[in-house]
Symmetry: C2
Subunit: 255 residues, 2 copies
DNA sequence: CGTCCTATTGAACAGATTCAATTACCGTGG
DNA sequence: CCACGGTAATTGAATCTGTTCAATAGGACG
């Protein structure tokens, strides 16, 4: 619980020479919409922020007057119910945007999972920049529509999938992400702990742990050192994720 | 199951005099972004489509080359898992847009709950219109961001709320919608059946029915004729929705 | 009045949770 | 280098919420 009580945003002075030198990751998102001069301009709008592990960026109910772009580390986005139940709406990784809500209040809280760095854009300046570069608008729409599709997929997972299917789907999603960088990747890193995963998948940490054990025992995955998971049998993991898990407790696929 | 096997879109000839005379509802969404001449222009892009109850508009996997705006009736948006489990991602009512996906394939299926009418815009023409009216882009973004927030709220419901809380939240959401039209409204109409509600809330139709009975018995709601539900004790319904349902089976709030 | 479909109700069951105990891990310090 | 302490993860057993399967009731319609 105490991770939810952290003090807000720690804003560092900008590195010398450039207002947001560390923000190149973010630029990938907009590179299709902007030329070099415009990118330079956008850079100048931002300042750098750093968060320690478990430190909060903003809480649900806070004023949403700043837009962030995560450049390093990872965040969790979550909502708390009055009695303490928590639902993690998503994990954010370098390149992801944050705080793009239309309303002026955040509906969710955001916290660092591990030490993180962000680019910080005051909403007013960001909006003015958009006014001058209408193509960004389309890019923002593209991002929001993508997020919406992902959110609806998660609704299917939360509403209709079993515990095994949920964790298998989750691991496959992370693998797909890893494969964008390296198409041959067979391992994923889990910066978040079991409780984070559980609150994302609508389960308890015990159930998540049990399913990890099941997947390990049936030689579908292997748990390596340092939060690394090796996907040993992707075909079987996909079968489990789609509900075709067979007797689930037994051996691997054809081979 | 047979409702899922319906033939696709029934496209009617346009009413005489105007290409999409019935589409005024849709215009409300864009009125903040367009002037009268532009609205007229947009109208000319559309044609009218009608659906019977349980008729399908498109299926998951279909090409997403048309954008719709619902003008009459209601739709369900859902995804099927390979074994037939269904998750309803949302219900659509007059004024709602549909088919705005970025990718070229629909991830979800859409079906009429009751007889419905839509405006139909070929994607190419719609995109060209947007190119000429950049302010619409912002409006589209606003819509998508709103949908995203709603989808995340639904994730909280599906991941962390009990059956009682889910149905109470659902009824309150419909009441809030009804109150946009009439701020004093105390009744809501449920065009969808118990199975639709169950598949939206991640429950079974039996559980939905049981919770309806509970709410009825504890005099929080009253079931009227013709799919109408009267919210008798809104305060108590809100308490149940937020997890403060007390002993849940007993009488109403202070009165 | 009978048929069909939906909704409701009942009782046994199952998957995930809860509570509790044990084990593994990691950084620290002797 | 290894013991120690604290946290996270795993495992176990009982419990519970919601499901499943089955039967009954209700309503619309011919």
């Amino acid at each position: 619980m105490n991770s939810l009580m952290q003090s807000p945003l720690d804003l560092l002075p900008l590195p010398a020479g450039h207002p947001c030198a560390a923000c190149d990751v973010r630029m990938q998102t907009f590179c299709s919409a902007l030329d070099a001069g415009e990118l330079e301009q956008l850079r100048c709008l931002g300042s750098t922020a750093r968060l320690e592990a478990d430190q909060s960026l903003f809480h649900q109910g806070d004023q949403a007057d700043v837009i962030y772009n995560l450049t390093k580390g990872s965040l969790r986005l979550y909502q708390l119910l009055p009695d303490g139940r928590r639902q993690v709406a998503g994990f954010l990784f370098p390149g992801d945007f944050l705080g793009l809500a239309v309303n002026d209040e955040h509906a969710f809280s955001a916290e660092a999972i591990e030490p993180a760095e962000l680019c910080r854009y005051p909403r007013g300046r960001f909006n003015r920049f958009i006014d001058e570069h209408p193509r960004i608008e389309r890019e923002l729409y593209r991002i929001a529509a993508h997020e919406l599709a992902a959110a609806r997929d998660q609704m299917v997972l939360l509403g209709r999938k079993t515990a095994n299917e949920r964790l298998a789907s989750f691991l496959l999603k992370l693998l797909a992400r890893a494969r964008k960088g390296d198409p041959a990747a067979e391992t994923i890193t889990l910066p978040m702990n079991r409780l984070d995963i559980a609150d994302y998948l609508g389960l308890t940490k015990e159930t998540v742990s049990r399913v990890f054990t099941l997947l390990k025992t049936s030689q579908v995955i292997r748990l390596m050192a340092g939060d690394v998971v090796r996907i040993v049998d992707r075909a079987r993991l996909e079968a489990i994720a789609s509900g075709d898990g067979g007797s689930a407790g037994s051996a691997g696929s054809a081979g």
